[in-house]
Symmetry: C2
Subunit: 290 residues, 2 copies
């Protein structure tokens, strides 16, 4: 099968390699001319035999512009797939714009990160069943072996929605291990914390891929001494909490994990300055001053 | 190797079966005469050749009494292992009582539940290295195959401590999946929630044994319609939060998961009655009355 792929970064580049290894023909464009395989989007589209499928794998902030630019070069019957981390609310308007020109649209949440090239990418797909069926050979090549790792989650938007919730869960899972790790470190009882984490990889209720990764990190740096306790967020945790607020769903652990990241990025806490000030005001409690 | 096993309940019974399958000789006592293999603890001790090892696997609330009763029948050089869910703070006093009589003591946190008989039990051990070495053949038979699933975590108390933190993490992991599940259910985007959960079992960042179990539960009851949203706790989540308070470790997600269980068990919320009353007082906002 033939696929146009726009965006050959860390994700797109590895996906192209996995698709080619499965025997598919990939024409790749990247705005970095050193990476791109064609001169531009017109050349990419010209290299594909209609009806075309073009997979867009670019940063969320340029996805809408890229999709519209690609669409301007396509013809009725073609199909655009957005595999980036778009907010799900953009998918339906995007699909409607494309449908008005006879172009199909699928939104795909992609998980797997740098491990995906070898282990496969988990795919969560939103859109019409006929479009999903057309792209299924591509999905089958990208997904992990076995019965899991692919789902047609619902209509347009459902793929990115499922991926967003996946990432929200991921925030709280990471926070769970992190809190347990810190408690083990703080206690005087357990003398070999990395060995405890390692032992949990088999037979326990908490075994998981994230736990395996934590063990690997501790193998490389048993005290995590080379790291600062500073964690960015890429937006999907916030979107999950936004959605929980919209739908009035109590997400105690997910929101706690998100807020813990915000705290981690503060040099000092205005809120805790206020707490210190109030303790000093009403009780004369000592404060620390800069 | 020969082992006395006190407590042949769901855990002890399966552990005896796994030990025997590995070729060890197990003499089992249970206070239920229909289950017990000997008439009493004296008969159990008499059936073992010194130096003896007796593994106590009884509910936490009767462990101290059982250990002391067993110790009264043992001789210097014997070893008692507590594999139950004792609070770690009881281990050191217990070990000191036993050591005064020349009897060794190991505390072992055991994970694996009803799956352990086939897949093996993850073991977290606290105590002296010489005692651990003596019992190692027993541990090797109980643990899962492979390099993980066993750790000598530190001195007496470290085994139960590690198991406690394991369970605290487990609370927050379960809460993470549960919140994501509820959000997917609440949204109008994803139309096939169980299929999304199932797809996550491979290739995703959130893949884990707990996720596999959630998928199995949804296979059996796709809406979880037969269940009430009511969750007990067996104490280790509370102990983890107690320890976090003692050591001033911020455990946002673990405490949120514990408190979510408390909320789940309330028929009504006194706190939210108070919120409703205050909203009514200052703003004349409508309230719901019984």
């Amino acid at each position: 099968m033939q696929l146009g792929l726009v965006g050959l970064g860390r994700m797109g580049g590895n996906m192209a390699a996995r698709l080619r290894a499965a025997g598919h023909q990939v024409v790749g464009f990247d705005r970095d001319p050193h990476v791109s395989e064609v001169a531009g989007l017109p050349e990419l589209v010209a290299a594909l035999v209609p009806p075309r499928i073009v997979w867009v794998m670019v940063p969320a902030e340029v996805t809408d512009a890229t999709v519209d630019e690609v669409a301007g070069l396509l013809a009725p019957g073609d199909l655009i797939i957005d595999g980036g981390n778009s907010h799900f609310s953009l998918d339906r308007p995007r699909a409607e714009r494309l449908n008005a020109r006879g172009i199909g649209y699928l939104d795909v949440g992609v998980s797997g990160g740098i491990w995906g090239r070898e282990e496969g990418y988990a795919l969560m797909v939103g859109g019409e069943a006929a479009h999903v069926a057309r792209a299924q050979p591509i999905f089958d090549a990208l997904k992990p072996a076995g019965e899991y790792g692919f789902v047609h989650a619902g209509p347009v938007g459902a793929g990115h929605y499922a991926k967003m919730v996946h990432n929200g869960i991921e925030y709280a899972l990471m926070q769970a291990y992190a809190e347990g790790y810190e408690l083990l470190r703080a206690s005087e009882y357990v003398t070999n914390v990395p060995a405890v984490i390692k032992s949990w990889r088999s037979g326990t209720v908490v075994r998981s891929w994230l736990l395996d990764l934590l063990d690997q990190a501790l193998d490389e740096d048993p005290e995590l001494a080379g790291l600062r306790g500073y964690a960015e967020d890429t937006g999907e945790g916030r979107w999950t909490v936004d959605e929980a607020v919209r739908l009035a769903v109590p997400v105690h652990a997910i929101s706690a994990a998100l807020f813990a990241r915000f705290t981690s990025r503060q040099d000092d806490s205005p809120a805790m300055k206020a707490v210190a000030a109030l303790r000093n005001q009403f009780g004369g409690h000592a404060v620390k001053r800069d």
